[in-house]
């Protein structure tokens, strides 16, 4: 009798565990978990904007460059109604220097020049993206923007900086990001520039809500 009761409890426990696992994995896929904020220098537009965009991007990816230009336009067009949160997702298997670029961009951001540094990285991605050795451009751009070079270098070697990029990559993996650019617009997944433009057609509707 006691064995039967224990067996029943074990069956119920298995069902509960199965349901909890399924729910949690679904929540991951549907992006229902807590949203990790980005550093202030990578957040553009008001925090309370009606349209919240999280972009997973790679400085060496050509589509990301195109998306960057589109987003710049959108930010101007929907000024005050869009919040863009820039997240790193360097595709390290195909872009050798993407991870470094992300870390350096954050270090430029720490000195208040993220946007300018990111613009230079995107604009010249052909130049540094295919380099065999570590590209000198990373420092050239820092010089061009009058950054404190010793602080810039120290920051790029910091554990905190590297962990920050790795954490965003892990977050992207968890959300099923496997291509760049991937956007989450009000939690809805959008992949690539064409889908972004398609989603933008509905921005007016989102603003009417």
């Amino acid at each position: 009798m006691q064995h039967t009761k224990t067996a029943r409890k074990l069956v119920i426990a298995s069902l509960l565990i199965f349901a909890a696992t399924l729910t949690t994995l679904l929540a991951r896929q549907l992006n229902l978990g807590p949203i990790r904020t980005v550093p202030p220098f990578r957040a553009f537009g008001p925090k309370t904007a009606e349209i919240q965009i999280y972009e997973y991007t790679d400085f060496a990816c050509p589509s990301c460059q195109a998306a960057y230009l589109q987003l710049e336009e959108m930010l101007k067009l929907y000024n005050g109604h869009i919040a863009l949160n820039f997240k790193h997702y360097p595709l390290v298997s195909i872009h050798k220097w993407s991870f470094h670029a992300a870390a350096y961009a954050d270090c430029a951001g720490a000195q208040g020049k993220f946007q300018e540094y990111a613009a230079l990285l995107f604009k010249n991605q052909e130049l540094w993206g295919r380099a065999e050795k570590k590209p000198a451009e990373f420092f050239d751009y820092a010089k061009k923007l009058d950054l404190d070079l010793s602080a810039f270098e120290a920051c790029s070697n910091k554990d905190e900086t590297i962990k920050g990029v790795k954490l965003e990559m892990a977050e992207g993996d968890l959300k099923g990001v496997n291509a760049t650019p991937t956007f989450f617009i009000n939690r809805k997944r959008v992949v690539g520039t064409l889908q972004l433009l398609d989603a933008a057609k509905h921005f007016d509707n989102l603003l009417k809500k």
Binding site: K5, R8, A20, G33, P34, L167, A170
Partner: protein, 153 residues
């Protein structure tokens, strides 16, 4: 006497549901977030190597979620109360050694990336949760799946 037992039972059932809920919440938040996030928090305690921190971050949230869920619904209540109590004691040891070593722990990792209070605050919170675990261990088996199965089994 009868009233006293009733009060104890009500308190214990409430404790079980609250404590189970806290564990479900804590486990869920971490399970839907990147394991690396929790792993970095564990690394801050400087007690296990990096690989062990990641391994712990991958498994502990699920353990918390399952234990919390079974505990809140009252399945294997005493076993779960003991398990949760043991986890809480483990957390207390981690917090104490961090405090004694003066480690700059900025996030306890308890509820994922959500802000955490000071080490002393987290320590006190865990003590309160331990009290709930003890209460539930002793009197928390009523209004539970355990009692339902035992009654109808």
């Amino acid at each position: 006497m009868q009233n006293e037992r009733k009060v104890k039972t009500i308190l214990a059932v409430c404790s079980r549901i609250i404590l189970g809920g806290v564990f479900v919440y804590a486990g869920y938040l971490k399970a839907v977030s990147p394991a690396e996030e929790f792993a970095y928090a564990i690394e801050g305690y400087k007690i296990v190597p990096v690989w062990a921190a990641l391994w712990t971050a991958l498994t502990l949230p699920w353990l918390e979620l399952y234990l919390g869920l079974m505990f809140a619904t009252g399945l294997f209540t005493r076993f779960c109360a003991a398990g949760i109590g043991a986890l809480l004691l483990g957390f207390e040891v981690l917090l104490t050694q961090a405090w004694l070593r003066g480690l700059p722990v900025t996030s306890c990792g308890c509820f994922g990336a959500n802000g955490s209070s000071s080490l002393a605050g987290e320590f006190a919170q865990n003590i309160a949760l331990l009290v709930l675990a003890v209460l539930s261990f002793r009197h928390g088996a009523v209004f539970s799946l355990d009692s339902a199965v035992d009654r109808h089994g």
